[in-house]
């Protein structure tokens, strides 16, 4: 008992150990007006809805419209995912977000040999428009907003599947609202270099931007998901997340401008999908810094005249990598703080990561708690009633400035290298990711960073740690999906498919500057599959049919 009491006394007198932010910024014990000496309110902070939008992109923020609760889901067969999406809507989700499986993300069909064990597992298969039809059955496309979580080079194909469904159900394209995360450069790191060659990455994103500019003015054609995903992959700092994400955006913007679009055609429909880490104040400061940086970048560097171009539209997901497998219910607490930071940080949409993220896809209970977390924040805590509640705080404004400085410096360095694609090609980005990750790992293992339940306050796993259970993909899913794909290939109008694929190939062969969206949509409508479409595009640009070079074109 005496050692326990010694420990208690020690703990009672314990002091704050870590005096740096999560990203490593050294903090002072307190901040004062002196720290804001050089700050000009009108120039640097302004009001919400006023350039440079530090305090939020709308004057009335959540009094005008609450953020979208956008929990994501998707696994099993199309009809399973359809049920999950409807269940989420009933529970309070106000926007859809759909995970797709790894074969689809990599542009191979459910019946490809490398798809074995992966079909409908990390998400739902989007092998053909037949799958999209099943997923969205009974959900009116003109009454909801949808995020198709893609992040790889097949974004145009997934978008085409959505458009084909809209056309079929009589919903005008200009009424479609949502986004496909068409940030294929992120796929280079997160899904694979082989499936996401750099030139095809940029082309895919630019094709989507150019096409949507004409046909789908309400669709968010530039959706940068690198912020969330690269940070997850490498424990990036706040400023690294910003610099890489903005770097990606600039590559796509420049690509679209090279096709003749103006900055004001592009920027109003750009959105960012960002990470929310566990350092509460740093994340809020990060979002404020991002808004100000984006506004200045668009106005001063790109010469955007439309105020809608200057507004940084923010979607967030609470960080999965910050969660622990150990004592998983603690993740509810983490995700709650991170959701709160998103809201205080002025996000337009939030995905509160369910607590079991560290071991499986979301369960019913995990999603319910996540939605309730969002709802408690929205309706009970009162934080949504006032825009930018921390604006003017000596600490927050200093931290916002500091993050903007660091991120700008890094972005300048990327620009000096010739932009993000060059920085990736030379291996600079990969080194950055590797070094940052190694550093973080060292700090956790050495105890320099405390992670509750992981390196402190540990206990063995217990029965009941996962009250929602572990989500398992039913065994029949892969077999059934493969059977459907095979049946589809046998029963569809083969001459029409051949014609559409030939047309796609001819169009692709005309060069990188020719938009493939119309040809892809035509192919999708006659039930060409994702592998057939992506394979045709790949071959036209000198790549193997599939990224693993295991199959050949059947055409």
């Amino acid at each position: 008992m005496s050692t326990k009491l010694d420990r208690l006394t020690e703990a009672y007198y314990e002091k704050v150990k870590r005096t740096r932010t999560w990203s490593g910024i050294q903090l002072k014990p307190i901040y004062t007006p002196q720290d804001l000496a050089g700050v000009d309110f009108e120039r640097d902070i302004a009001d919400a809805g006023q350039y440079p939008f530090t305090r939020g992109i709308h004057p009335d923020m959540y009094r005008g419209k609450l953020w979208t609760r956008r929990q994501g889901w998707g696994y099993g067969l199309g009809e399973d995912t359809n049920k999950q999406l409807k269940q989420l809507i009933e529970q309070g989700n106000t926007g859809l977000s759909i995970y797709r499986d790894l074969p689809s993300a990599n542009g191979i069909d459910s019946d490809h040999p490398m798809a074995e064990g992966e079909v409908g597992v990390a998400g739902v298969a989007l092998c053909s428009v037949q799958d999209m039809e099943a997923i969205m059955d009974g959900i009116p496309l003109d009454r909801i907003t949808t995020s198709l979580l893609c992040g790889s080079v097949v974004a145009p194909i997934m978008l085409a599947q959505y458009i084909a469904l809209a056309d079929k159900t009589g919903v005008p394209r200009n009424k479609l609202r949502g986004q496909v995360s068409s940030d294929p450069l992120m796929g280079y790191f997160c899904y694979g270099k082989e499936s996401n060659p750099l030139d095809l990455c940029v082309k895919a994103a630019v094709d989507v931007i150019e096409f949507c500019n004409k046909e789908m003015p309400q669709w968010n054609a530039t959706y940068i998901s690198a912020c969330y995903n690269l940070r997850e992959a490498a424990a990036l700092t706040a400023s690294q997340e910003i610099a890489l994400g903005f770097g990606h955006a600039m590559a796509y913007i420049r690509g679209a401008m090279a096709r003749g679009l103006g900055i004001d055609d592009i920027a109003p429909r750009a959105n960012f999908y960002c990470n929310v880490g566990i350092d509460f104040f740093e994340e809020i400061a990060k979002f404020r810094a991002m808004r100000r940086m984006w506004a200045r970048l668009m106005k001063e560097k790109f010469g955007a005249k439309d105020p809608r171009s200057w507004r940084f539209r923010l979607a967030t997901q609470t960080s999965g990598a910050s969660l622990t497998k150990q004592q998983p219910l603690n993740n509810i607490v983490r995700a709650a703080f991170q959701t709160m930071a998103s809201v205080i940080g002025g996000a337009q949409s939030v995905y509160c990561t369910p607590y079991e993220e560290t071991v499986c896809l979301p369960t019913d209970l995990g999603q319910e708690i996540a939605l309730r977390t969002q709802e408690i924040i929205a309706y009970e805590t009162g934080v949504a009633a006032v825009a930018d509640p921390l604006g003017g705080s000596y600490y927050l404004e200093t931290l916002t400035n500091r993050i903007e400085e660091e991120a700008s410096e890094l972005l300048d360095r990327i620009e000096e290298m010739g932009g993000i694609v060059e920085a990736i090609r030379t291996g600079w980005v990969e080194s950055l990711l590797d070094n940052q990750l190694t550093q973080y790992q060292k700090e956790v293992e050495s105890g320099q960073r405390t992670v509750v339940g992981l390196n402190t306050f540990v206990r063995p796993p217990r029965e009941g740690d996962f009250p929602g259970g572990i989500l398992r993909i039913p065994a029949h899913v892969e077999e059934e999906q493969i059977a459907r794909v095979k049946r589809l290939k046998e029963t569809r109008d083969s001459p029409k498919v051949r014609e559409a694929i030939t047309n796609l190939r001819c169009t692709a062969e005309k060069g990188a500057g020719v938009n493939l969206m119309p040809a892809i949509i035509d192919a999708v409508k006659v039930y060409a599959t994702i592998e057939e479409i992506q394979g045709t595009i790949r071959e036209a640009f000198g790549y193997t049919w599939d990224p693993m070079d295991m199959r050949k074109s059947p055409f």
Partner: protein, 142 residues
């Protein structure tokens, strides 16, 4: 590629690290690769898009002492069992296979019953992984 040294005479431990299937999350396996290299081991990192057959083939070609497989998206339930089966069928059981990644605790027993030598999930320390590998290789070399 491989040295002209019989495996049992070679001092340095040679480890094959790989993803399996399509998953591209390499954060964990890269951390393990760095950790093992710092401990003086030789690491052959296959990367991703590796099939069970491909992994075993590489393991033999590279003449490794031990194979480490990283799973995140459920491959431990589908592809790892296939890997273990192929290893048995092709008499490659001499090379211990360890698995790591996103694996619920309740699946660890099943994996071990299949012949997986050890399972490491987030929270495993470098010390644990390194000593486990050293012991496994020492045991195997006899």
């Amino acid at each position: 590629m491989g040295e002209n040294v019989v495996r049992s005479e070679r001092q340095q431990i040679r480890v094959l690290l790989t993803k399996i299937g399509l998953d591209g999350h390499t954060r964990g396996i890269k951390a393990v690769a760095a950790m093992l290299r710092n401990a003086g081991m030789e690491v052959v990192y296959l990367g991703h898009f590796q099939s069970p057959k491909g992994i075993l083939k590489s393991a033999l070609q590279e003449d490794v002492d031990i194979i480490g497989v990283s799973c995140l998206a459920g491959e431990h339930l589908t592809l790892v069992p296939k890997l273990m089966r192929l290893a048995k069928e092709n008499n490659v059981e001499g090379i211990p296979i360890v698995v790591g990644g996103v694996i619920p605790d309740e699946d660890v027993e099943n994996l071990e019953a299949m012949g997986v030598h050890g399972v490491f999930t987030p929270g495993a320390t470098s010390h644990q992984i390194i000593s486990f590998i050293k012991d496994a290789v020492r045991e195997k070399r006899g």
